[in-house]
């Protein structure tokens, strides 16, 4: 059930603004604050991290989006940028880092490897996309994606945060008491990780074949 929220008349708000009176909603200002201060976790897994570093430096200037504060501790981070190849040996550590981040938390999977395994997909050592174990908000294709693509992913994430309702069934995970905040860490198996994916997060898409 969704509750229709009383919306303020657009004309009245503009008129008030001309008089120096600004109005907003709690949801609007809460999300405005959150979306402009997304602190990423400082870690990189492969060559995509170089592009991520480039995006954070002067030329591409991630600071314009309020996301320049790369945190060395997951306890202080809001966003995990999975930048690079996730090997099967590294995957449990990535999931563990995600579990250690406080809610609300978001994930950008950056580059072909992080979203699908990329050029290493059939390798014995590479995970076929981090979205098999943790929920990913924005996927960026590319090998590696240019810093502009990462900025676009940031803006996409900001739009997502901006439009998150604080009440109702579509409210974000951190406002749902029963929604999981931690996800099971996979174990090392004989040839592969156990389990090979988390079915609550990822299911094999049904292939439509001729």
């Amino acid at each position: 059930m969704t509750i229709e929220k009383p919306k303020m008349d657009e004309g009245l708000r503009n008129e008030l603004q001309k008089q120096g009176v600004f109005t907003t909603t709690l949801e609007g200002i809460y999300n405005w604050g959150r979306q402009n201060s997304v602190w990423p976790l400082q870690f990189g897994l492969a060559c995509c991290a170089i592009e991520m570093i480039a995006a954070s430096m002067a030329r591409y200037d991630l600071a314009r989006f309020g996301a320049e504060v790369f945190r060395p501790s997951p306890r202080q981070a809001d966003l995990m940028i999975v930048a690079g190849t996730v090997t099967k040996k590294m995957a449990p550590q990535v999931v563990r880092l995600y579990n250690q981040m406080p809610e609300p938390k978001y994930v950008i999977a950056m580059g072909a490897c992080a979203i699908s395994g990329g050029p290493f997909k059939q390798g014995y050592n590479v995970l076929k996309g981090i979205d098999r174990y943790i929920p990913v908000d924005v996927h960026i294709p590319g090998c590696p994606p240019r810093p502009e693509a990462l900025l676009h992913a940031f803006m996409t994430l900001q739009k997502k945060i901006e439009n998150q309702p604080l009440t109702g069934a579509n409210r974000p995970r951190h406002l749902q008491a029963d929604a999981p905040s931690e996800f099971p860490v996979p174990k090392f198996g004989v040839h592969d990780l156990e389990p090979p994916s988390n079915p609550t997060v990822w299911q094999s898409p049904k292939m439509v074949r001729a």
């Binding site: 099967k88 040996k89 059939q122 014995y124 050592n125 076929k128 090392f188 198996g189 004989v190 040839h191 592969d192 090979p196 094999s204 898409p205 292939m207």
Partner: protein
């Protein structure tokens, strides 16, 4: 630098009993290598490092090769007299090559500024007699690379100070760089399969339909 023939004769002179073979190379690079026997491997390595003429003090690279059992076809030209006329006939000879595992070391000299000399060692077979002498006591730079060879090819290095897996995790079974390695059947979602991935995807789907 001396030629491989000179190096070979000097090694056999210094270490009687050492069996050394020069492996030819038909590729454009034409870089030949020394195949030495495993029993004298460590002594030969020591000789190559300490010899005042060679001083091969730097091992830049150590890697492994898997040679599975295979039928090798070689073409030989023969002169045959057919009805009084001499003719040239091409014949293919099929020989069974026994399988083995191999390590390759690329040696340079920082002191003499020459190299590379390529050293090869082969195990007797691919299953139980897979031991080779470790050259880490001679060149310290081999340590991690020999661990990697142990991890991915399953060659056991005798005399290695710390022989454990380095890339795969503890508890991983088998050696993934061997030609006959069978990976896990995780072909559940292949958006654009082709070639052998397509075959494996079909097998996976057939197994799924049965189950």
């Amino acid at each position: 630098m001396e030629t491989l023939e000179q190096i070979k004769s000097r090694i056999t002179h210094a270490l009687p009993g050492a069996r050394i073979e020069i492996i030819p190379n038909d590729s454009p690079a034409g870089q030949r290598s020394l195949l030495v026997d495993a029993d004298h491997g460590a002594a030969i390595a020591q000789f190559l490092r300490d010899d005042p003429e060679l001083r091969l003090d730097y091992c830049s690279n150590a890697t492994g090769v898997d040679w599975p059992e295979a039928v090798v076809k070689t073409k030989i030209k023969k002169q045959v007299i057919v009805e009084g006329v001499e003719k040239e006939i091409e014949e293919t000879l099929e020989t069974l090559r026994s399988g083995c595992l191999e390590t390759v070391y690329h040696l340079y000299s920082m002191a003499k500024k020459h190299g590379p000399v390529i050293l090869r060692l082969r195990t007797e077979n691919r299953s139980d007699k897979n031991h080779l002498p470790s050259l880490t006591p001679v060149w310290r730079s081999c340590e991690f690379q020999e661990r990697e060879i142990f991890d991915l090819y399953g060659i056991v290095f005798d005399g290695h100070p710390d022989l454990r897996r380095i890339l795969m995790w503890e508890g991983f079974v088998d050696h993934p760089m061997r030609k006959d390695y069978v990976g896990p059947d995780d072909y559940d979602y292949e958006p654009t399969p082709h070639d052998d991935v397509l075959e494996k995807t079909k097998q996976h789907q057939a197994a799924e339909v049965k189950a």
